[in-house]
Symmetry: C2
Subunit: 459 residues, 2 copies
């Protein structure tokens, strides 16, 4: 059957309602005016309105015309209202449970180091120094791109990684997550398609949900994304690919130079922009290939922060990328946050980063982490839990459980013992990581972690 | 002429491109598939594609079909690329010029106090105390709603204003601007309509531009928004009204109890949500009516921060509102920033706020500000510049210039002397404040401010 003009009119109106050109509660255009505008007869408009009303998309109010139904688009809802079971595979599960943990909780599922692994003495010293700084630092806004001291310090670190950039290529943000959020606001529109790794960092998906985009997961291998799957996904004309190259979260895998190179060639051929999250850079004992370095900040935006090795309390992230994008991102940050991170925060970070003790702290971290990874792998083996790969650095072990295990169930049970775990499916857009779990090896020393895990597996 | 099916097909496609269901560079649906989907003949699709290609909306690639042109929707651009003249009335003008001021700039246009008016000694003391706090405060994330110490401190202050709220009604954010941004993300969709004051705070408009909504200005009188205009604007079914009630920015006017009450009644009748920005609360010598208090956090969300009286360097804001909205806003903040403001920041703020010296600092500020408002009004009078109203508190004077003056021109000229002014139209959605300017009376003591102003007016 051929579409009638009424069908097509209905489609136009549905599209307008979907993109909220007509919002909930809005009065529909008057029949006469809309008929003139669309160059159809008023009776065609009446028929379209009647049929949309029958569908519940709009509703008639006696004597005053048609209105868009309020049920079409509720306020943005990121999480289903459902039961704990449905929250199980929710990308928010790990973050909310770990940020708002009960007192005394054990958190092998969380994404940070215990406080006694962090350089708090250097922080204390930095705070005492900051207490002597000038009044402007303590009470004024930072420049729109953020403190120049910290930007220079970052540019120096980039140069060590063979990434040459100037201050125009760099801005500071309130966190690495906010860095990604600003990029998504600049480059994405609702309905766009974005590629992420499967498994990959759960908060990428939570954030992308807030942007109302379609997320496609690309299987992640021990050497980087599966290129055949990546190439196939390019047919969906994605706008962005978001990844961690160094010490991939959750697997701890490392991108190989070959895959890095071919990935960039594919991205260039398909005009794809890449966001490379380099949050784990300081946890790598030996540097690995970086997309941003190979590409020279052309189509790759590099983001990062300081929460993994310095402090998650002092919030600060950064974006490095094309100067024109950075300029537009700075405007966006001014509009939405009125400036970047606190000068108090950035001075403190610069103080610790440039202090002599930071490199020593990092070397010591590498040593302790290598020991902890080995110890936890040994501790998990008797339970039939084995690492999928042995990461070169960092604090994650991505582990496979015995056949038939649902790590979501295990995480739910362990919660009853106040042990917070990170079940595989929170990392998996395709929900194909039921038998996997991410362990933070630095949060496993409390015997309750192992006890709760063994108990939950036995249940 | 009646619309043909081709016309309507073109409209469907334009709508899809506008909402980026089809994005720049995307291949258009195949002719056969799209004809089937839309129940039209392939020749109708071909005609629609040809005509859209003639308009430049899509383009044909030899042998491979039609693609959406890249020019349709560039990355989000918040500012016109134009000349300094067009930047003149840009809502970003004041923020970017003042955040990135040249060294030695005089800034009567900025929105903050000079550093020597701020409690930097209390800050120094707070930093020294913070240096002794536990390692977790220095290196861990805050709970998702932010530090309980600072939330309790805020709830105590709310109670003094007769606003009773519990911890579930309150969350901390990275800044007051970010508080508003999160609310807009939760409640608005592109194309929605939002009411703001005219004149009103320029960054509300910059932020709303990032949300791609329609902004309608409601004239602001000496007692609050003009209710007749407000009521008329309700016909456009706005979703939000954003305002400052206490010491309205830029006018310094105070909302009257009568207007507050009638405003809330209108909002209730039209299911309008109100955001009340209470950033200037501590600069009010005597409390004035608050929408959030009258309404009891039902349809009013209250936001604020600490940048005006404590520190703009330590970034922190808050949102108080309905518990279910706060819960959804917390999810949004976790997704987009991974948690709220730094515990280091919030502990420092709580330390200063609860310290004995803060009330004394505020009393002293009120005294100095009253003197500065009077002095600056007297200083401006000989130039024919007169305050529109005499504010009860705060640091702004909204002033009228002699007939025929364009304050945008004056601000441009003063920039040449490194004096940054805030011309009226950056505050005016209707661009009807050509003869007005906002002065920050605390930034006028440098004689260059008056000299540059007199020189620019004489030119």
């Amino acid at each position: 059957m051929a579409a009638t003009k009424t069908d097509m009119l209905m489609q136009v109106l549905r599209d307008r309602i979907a993109r909220r050109a007509l919002g909930p509660g809005d009065r529909m255009p008057s029949i006469r005016r809309f008929a003139e505008q669309m160059k159809v007869s008023p009776s065609t408009v009446v028929e379209a309105y009647d049929r949309l009303a029958a569908e519940g998309v709009i509703s008639a109010k006696r004597g005053s015309g048609f209105y868009v139904s309020n049920s079409n688009l509720p306020p943005m809802k990121l999480t289903p209202a459902g039961s704990p079971q449905t929250r199980n595979v929710d990308p928010f599960w790990v973050s909310r449970q770990s940020l708002d943990a009960q007192p005394g909780a054990v958190q092998p599922g969380c994404g940070w180091l215990p406080e006694d692994w962090m350089p708090h003495e250097a922080m204390r010293k930095g705070l005492r120094t900051l207490a002597k700084s000038d009044a402007a630092t303590l009470t004024n806004y930072a420049p729109a791109r953020g403190s120049l001291v910290l930007r220079r310090c970052l540019l120096g670190r980039f140069a060590e990684e063979s990434l040459s950039a100037t201050p125009e290529h760099l801005m500071l943000t309130a966190s690495a997550s906010q860095a990604l959020d600003l990029i998504c606001r600049l480059l994405l529109r609702p309905g766009d398609t974005v590629l992420v790794d499967d498994p990959g960092y759960f908060n990428f998906r939570a954030l992308l949900r807030a942007h109302q985009v379609n997320v496609i997961g690309v299987p992640y291998t021990r050497e980087g994304p599966d290129l055949a799957a990546f190439e196939a996904a390019l047919a969906g004309a994605p706008r962005l690919y978001i990844t961690n190259s160094a010490l991939h979260n959750p697997t701890g895998a490392t991108l190989s130079p070959q895959i890095a190179h071919r990935l960039l060639a594919l991205a260039a051929a398909h005009e794809l922009t890449i966001v490379e999250d380099d949050t784990f850079v300081d946890l790598e004992p030996e540097p690995s290939p970086r997309l941003a370095v190979l590409d020279g900040l052309n189509r790759v935006l590099k983001i990062g922060g300081f929460s993994k090795t310095l402090s998650a309390s002092v919030r600060c992230g950064y974006i490095a990328g094309r100067a024109d994008w950075i300029e537009a991102l700075v405007d966006l940050q001014v509009a939405t946050s009125f400036g970047g991170p606190s000068p108090v925060a950035t001075e403190l970070l610069a103080h610790v980063l440039t202090g002599g003790g930071y490199r020593k702290h990092i070397a010591e971290l590498h040593r302790r982490l290598a020991g902890a990874r080995k110890a936890v792998a040994a501790q998990l083996a008797p339970l039939g839990i084995t690492p999928w790969t042995l990461p070169r650095g960092g604090f994650y072990l991505w582990c496979r459980f015995p056949e038939g295990t649902d790590t979501g169930d295990i995480a739910q049970r362990a919660m009853e013992d106040n042990v917070m775990l990170a079940p595989g499916n929170v990392f998996s857009p395709s929900q194909s990581a039921t038998r996997f779990m991410r362990f933070n090896v630095t949060q496993m020393s409390d015997p309750r972690a192992h006890e709760a895990l063994a108990k939950a597996m036995a249940a």
